[in-house]
């Protein structure tokens, strides 16, 4: 091996503390990238495997109702591979006589013979459905788990005030309801109050008196024909009140999972980039210091005829090696984390199949990115080394970074103690040291603030939604419009503090090329329980004939105040056709879920008479219960005539918190990574700060300066440059958080930009304490060093 390469390896050993520091930083960065990106790909592959093998429908069309023969006719449409007509209806479910927990069950029909061929079910417990006459039901696992149903238990759907009894044959997981949500307006699964169950067709027809009818079509098509088939079927089915088809990618469960995946993909790129960027800064800082320290050696090697490019290569290789050392443990750690994260995630969602993506490509990309980043970071110091004039490099005491402190500093320091004055002057004299410390501290702060911000913002957004936007305890939905007098009736209940009616119509909104389906919720004027604010926090009363989209909805539709959209009733048919332009009055702040709001009066005035909910009727109701009575009110609400859905805010919040668990786990992992990385960066920086002063400190000690005074001097300088780092790091962290919040917005989330003061306090105090602690090992080693030897080597 050439002596130059030998020198490289020995240098790595000599600078092992720094090398280990960089290896740790790199390891954290690459393991985070590897674990998150591999989890993202594994989950994506698992879902895709599920969608393909369990045959998630290419599209679904809901309709009022149509004869079953229609399905046979549609099967002949060219391109149709498989088609099923089914009945899907929501019913009220009682779990057992006397148990008043309120639940909505979605009943879906299964062919009388055999199993589902589209949107297949996976049997997790018990048995599949028996013959058509058996009064049996399969329950979705989340719902079964929430209510502790086991095979053999009995469940009681209530149709037309009649309680029916069905035996639970088995517990299943459905590819269509991997994420059990009612609709895209309700993207949080609430298994406490909503569940899905499957019955033989004959039973469902009897239950709903829908003999020979279907109200939903699910279809799979030959490759490349979907859109054509979908359009043809929609055109055909409009006379049966068909709603616009829902293609697979817009299917609510798949959409939510995809949003989750997209979020994970962003996590997988943004944070590791931050981490690897921080590692690069550390490489830059350490290598620059190494080059500075080895000026004489570089000068000599150049004087001996070593070409400039070879000197540069030496330091570039040093940077590359420092970067690469951490990649192997990083990849291994990342692989382990990835399997864990994917497994936890899939288990949490109840997805029983795991397809672990190949980690080879992910690892290679990670190694390549890390290596490239290290080399880019090492480029500048390596170039400096190669461009060093040998004569200049060997000149005693030569240093490019020595400066004079500004005069004002000298004046300010007049009267300060010797140690303080030396320490603070050093900030300006050793600018490279000050700059590296500022970079190191700022990088650590950016990492801590951005990760802690996510926790703050999520908590704040959820809190705002439940405390301000959704200021009610119970949400009631009626199967058909009812008289608004029911509100007066509910207001008389002793457990109720306030109640308000509302109305909703399903519509299709078009803005330019963007078309999407929504339910417009009409909220009464002066509502106490549904209050809205704009982005600036000002109250927004719902007035006039315009609509008020939630900010996430406005973003996904690319609409803003003043835009005019085309509104169509979702169930437009030959007999009933409703189309109208509608203006966006203002967007309203709503962190969770999509939504479009309007004045109830205006909604009823414009569309109510034609759609069967004229003024004086309501389609739903929200209720504020007296403290401690929300479950009692919910139970009573189910007894209201026509009530089909009762949901408590308490349950929903619990479910939101539960579904946020994964987010919190991710953020928690990120915070641990960020904390560890900050420790590594600050340790590297501060340790280098002290180590590069060994000779200087040795001289001071030889002159009789005590270790106590030296410690004070070093601490004052480090803390002063840390404060400068804080001044840079806090705004940089804020900017990072602001950038992150932009990336974090989805169709169902509109996260607030909020950072708690606690975050600033924790990250700043943590950094200051860390700086003081990190200098201890280096100071101890200096305290124990051989003064004679150190002073002898001084100048080399």
């Amino acid at each position: 091996m050439s002596r130059l390469w030998l020198k490289l390896i020995r240098d790595l050993r000599a600078y092992r503390v720094q090398a280990i520091g960089i290896a740790v930083v790199t390891m954290l960065g690459i393991s985070m990238y590897h674990s998150f990106y591999l989890s993202y790909r594994s989950m994506g592959e698992s879902y895709e495997w599920g969608y393909a093998n369990l045959r998630l429908a290419d599209f679904t069309i809901q309709l009022d109702q149509a004869p079953r023969q229609t399905v046979d006719r549609l099967a002949a449409v060219p391109g149709v591979w498989q088609i099923t007509g089914r009945i899907s209806r929501d019913v009220r479910v009682e779990q057992a006589p006397g148990r008043r927990k309120v639940v909505t069950g979605r009943v879906i029909s299964v062919p009388d013979q055999g199993e589902l061929q589209i949107n297949r079910l996976m049997l997790l417990e018990g048995n599949y459905l028996g013959p058509p006459d058996a009064r049996e039901v399969l329950l979705e696992r989340g719902f079964a788990r929430a209510h502790d149903y086991r095979p053999g238990d009995v469940i009681y759907p209530i149709v037309g005030n009649l309680r029916q009894a069905f035996r639970v044959a088995g517990i299943v997981s459905s590819i269509e309801y991997l994420y059990v949500v009612r609709s895209k307006e309700n993207l949080f699964p609430t298994p406490e109050s909503f569940g899905v169950m499957w019955m033989r067709r004959r039973q469902v027809e009897r239950l709903f008196n829908m003999h020979g009818l279907v109200n939903e079509i699910v279809c799979m098509t030959a490759e490349g024909t979907r859109d054509r088939v979908m359009s043809a079927m929609y055109a055909d089915l409009r006379r049966f009140g068909a709603m616009p088809p829902v293609p697979q990618e817009e299917q609510p469960s798949r959409q939510v999972l995809q949003q989750d995946l997209d979020g994970l993909a962003q996590f997988a790129v943004i944070f590791p980039s931050l981490f690897i960027g921080a590692a690069a800064l550390t490489v830059l800082s350490i290598l620059s210091r190494t080059v500075e320290r080895e000026r004489r050696q570089i000068g000599f090697l150049r004087a001996s005829g070593l070409p400039a490019w070879r000197v540069g290569l030496q330091y570039l290789a040093f940077a590359g090696l420092m970067g690469i050392v951490g990649t192997i443990p990083g990849v291994l750690l990342g692989q382990w984390f990835a399997i864990g994260i994917t497994r936890i995630y899939l288990t949490e969602l109840g997805i029983p199949f795991l397809r672990l993506a190949s980690g080879v490509t992910v690892a290679l990309i990670g190694v390549l990115v890390t290596l490239t980043t290290s080399l880019v970071a090492g480029w500048r110091p390596a170039r400096e080394a190669s461009r060093m004039s040998p004569a200049e490099a060997m000149r005693s005491g030569a240093s490019a970074s020595m400066r004079h402190p500004p005069r004002i500093v000298a004046r300010l320091l007049r009267g300060a103690s010797f140690t303080t004055s030396v320490a603070l002057n050093s900030l300006f004299r050793q600018t490279h040291r000050t700059v590296y410390t500022i970079f190191g501290v700022a990088s650590g702060l950016v990492l801590m603030i951005t990760t802690m911000f996510m926790m703050d913002a999520l908590g704040h957004s959820i809190g705002y939604y439940f405390d301000s936007v959704r200021n009610y305890d119970v949400d009631v939905g009626f199967a058909a419009p009812v008289s608004s007098s029911v509100v007066q009736q509910v207001l008389r209940w002793p457990e109720v503090e306030w109640a308000e009616g509302n109305v909703g119509i399903p519509v299709t909104l078009q803005h330019g090329k963007d078309v999407d389906d929504f339910v417009i919720t009409g909220v009464p004027a002066g509502s106490r329980l549904q209050t809205f604010r704009d982005e600036q926090g000002w109250p927004v009363p719902l007035i006039g004939n315009g609509i008020y989209p939630a900010n996430s909805t406005a973003r996904s539709m690319d609409i803003e105040r003043g835009d005019v959209l085309k509104l169509q009733y979702a169930y437009n048919s030959r007999d009933l056709r409703l189309e109208s332009p509608v203006k966006v009055t203002k967007t309203v702040r709503q962190p969770i879920g999509a939504g479009i709001y309007m004045s109830a009066e205006a909604l009823q005035r414009q569309f109510g008479s034609r759609l069967g909910f004229p003024p004086g009727t309501i389609g739903g109701m929200v209720i504020k219960a007296k403290p401690g009575y929300h479950q009692a009110v919910a139970a009573r609400a189910y007894d209201l005539p026509g009530a089909i859905m009762v949901e408590t805010t308490y349950d929903m919040r619990a479910e939101v918190d539960r579904s946020m668990t994964m987010n919190y786990i991710f953020i928690g992992i990120l915070m641990i990574f960020a904390g560890a990385l900050t420790v590594a960066i600050v340790y590297n920086t501060i340790n280098s700060n002290v180590q590069e002063r060994r000779a200087e400190i040795a001289s001071l000690r030889a002159l009789g300066v005590t270790m106590r005074e030296i410690t004070r001097m070093v601490t004052v300088e480090n803390l002063a440059s840390t404060l400068l780092g804080i001044l840079v790091g806090v705004p940089a962290g804020l900017a990072g958080a602001r950038g992150l919040v932009e990336l974090w917005q989805t169709e169902s989330f509109s996260i607030d930009f909020y950072i708690s003061p606690r975050t600033f306090i924790i990250s700043i105090v943590f950094t200051l304490v860390l700086v003081v602690v990190c200098q201890i090992p280096a100071l101890r080693s200096i305290a124990s060093m051989n003064l004679a030897q150190m002073t002898r080597l001084h100048g080399e």
Partner: protein, 235 residues
């Protein structure tokens, strides 16, 4: 005396230090015959290190010419200068500039590799009296031993010209004498041209030629008919 090893004609070197122009050399002219040991003598700031750096190809003159072994060094630019240093010049510095993470033998072999003579490292260390210290790191060697490693390192390239910048400046008297003896021996045994910079007038007594510098001028060139052996030098 035979062929001229080094020839400097009207060498000038100006540095810009902010708005001030420092004239380090103001027209130095002299010749050095091959195989001679020359001492460049002068006080601090006289331009002797600048002159050595220019002759060694570490720096370039503002004007004037330098020929070494018939090659016009003053015309060279990088990477020709690198090739020149690699092939023709060996350096010894006041601060030994050893690589602290390499052993004595490895330090010598490191430079030997540049010339393709790495195998001779141990022999050379033996020759400078460090045969027992091959595996020692610089921190484990005394100042004199470190400088002897530096001499071995300079010699391994079999240079045409050996340049020493205050090679005893960082050594005590006894060790300094030992190093000077080594340089004298090397010069005599290999018929090597040696240029050594010092501010110590006593060292001039061991030289074949003493070139005195003052304020960038060559003040005096003195031929030493009977150089003293280094062991007889006193300061």
């Amino acid at each position: 005396m035979g062929k001229t090893a080094v020839s400097c004609q009207d060498l000038q070197k100006h540095y810009e230090m902010g708005e001030v122009i420092v004239k380090a050399l103001r027209g130095a002219t002299f010749d050095v015959p091959e195989g001679s040991l020359v001492v460049l003598l002068g006080p601090s700031g006289s331009g002797k290190t600048t002159l050595l750096n220019i002759i060694g190809g570490l720096d370039t003159p503002t004007s004037g010419t330098v020929f070494v072994d018939g090659q016009e060094v003053s015309k060279l630019v990088e990477p020709e200068l690198t090739q020149y240093r690699r092939g023709k010049v060996g350096f010894i510095f006041q601060f030994f500039n050893l690589v602290p993470t390499l052993t004595a033998e490895e330090n010598v072999a490191l430079v030997g590799e540049l010339a393709g003579n790495a195998d001779e490292a141990a022999d050379l260390l033996e020759r400078v009296g460090l045969g027992e210290r091959l595996e020692y790191y610089p921190a484990e060697l005394s100042g004199g031993e470190q400088q002897r490693v530096a001499i071995a390192r300079a010699l391994i390239k079999r240079p045409y010209l050996l340049l020493g910048d205050e090679p005893t400046g960082n050594l005590d008297y006894e060790t300094g004498l030992m190093v000077l003896q080594l340089i004298r021996d090397v010069s005599d045994e290999s018929d090597l041209t040696v240029l050594m910079v010092t501010h110590n007038a006593a060292i001039g007594q061991m030289a074949d030629i003493v070139i005195s510098l003052r304020s960038g001028h060559v003040e005096d060139i003195r031929q030493n008919e009977s150089p003293l052996p280094p062991s007889e030098l006193r300061w």
